[in-house]
């Protein structure tokens, strides 16, 4: 199961592509055929299974469009 999850708010994204540049695991890509409402290229969280919630994209997004969350699994007994 994935360890992390990010949400990209397309209202605030300005398509600078720093998130895909800084993501060391290649989770964020820019497909090139999707656009924000302001007309910028929209990044996509394309490989959620590789994310380890390091938080770097959340630190270095200049426009506060990314929120990073760490996911922890339920205990087996609780299932």
């Amino acid at each position: 199961m994935p360890k992390g999850e990010i949400s990209i708010d397309e209202r605030f994204c300005k398509g600078c592509s720093l998130c895909s540049h800084f993501c060391t695991r290649g989770c964020i890509t820019i497909p090139g055929d999707r656009f924000t409402p302001q007309g910028y290229l929209l990044p996509v969280f394309s490989s959620p299974e590789k994310c380890n919630a390091c938080g770097i994209c959340g630190w270095l997004c200049p426009h506060f469009a990314i929120e990073v969350y760490k996911l922890t699994e339920k205990e087996p007994a609780a299932k």
Binding site: M1, P2, G4, E5, R11, F12, K14, G15, C16, S17, L18, H21, F22, Y40, A53, C54, G55, I56, C57, G58, W59, L60, C61, P62, H63, F64, I66, E67, V68, Y69, K70, L71, T72, E73, K74, E75, A78
Partner: protein, 258 residues
Amino acid sequence: MSSQDVENRTWVSGTPRLWVRHPAGCRQCPGCHHPIIERLIADVVGDLKVEDDTVFITGVGCSTRAFTVMDFDGISTAHGRAPDVGTAIKRTLHGRPVVITIQGDGDCIAIGAGSLLAAVGRAERITVFMANNGNFGTTGGQMAPTTLTGQVTTTTPQGRNDSTGFPMHVPELLATLKGCAYSARGSVHTPANYQRTKKLMKTAVQKQLDDVGFSFVEILSACPPDWRITPVESLRWIEEQMIPEFPLGEFKNVECIN
């Protein structure tokens, strides 16, 4: 993955606690480093738990856009006069507020150089954060005091050369003055430098809380639209061109200015 498998969904990073969502979003250009610096300031003030006592002061420039979104008290002042207004607030309220100024290089060292040096000379207990992007970003990329030798700007189309001067090194300059307790330079162009700069900024605010003296941090900042390159290329430009000219690190860190 189904949502039932997830027990905890803990926030790691993103919008800081002391931040108000502007309905129009962040107003800076794509790839600008000013909002990252403002995120660091909001994080540092939140970590030190001084947000109820903090007043941030902006001059004129791209740093003024912090004014609408940061969730603590602020004043926008005339061009370059943020240290003067900070002095007034600090002294009339008997040193209680934590005064932080957010300025660009044009605001801080071009038109506000007199205010800045006078504030250091009086050893005011305020903290100045200066974003250095090597040009006047708001007005279209004219030459600033921090423009590198050979850098092409709107007013130096052949590159800055001997006839137009040399870049100013502000933390090194302030480190020679006795009223300055802390001066440093950081950068936010890599994740490691982001964390290092956060430590520098926290130390600078701590110097003010400990009533030691004036504290100053310069942060190298990208301006992709005025440098005419993409945001990712601008990171490489900071690494290859700016850091050899403006070395990172602490230049002065004293416990007592006497």
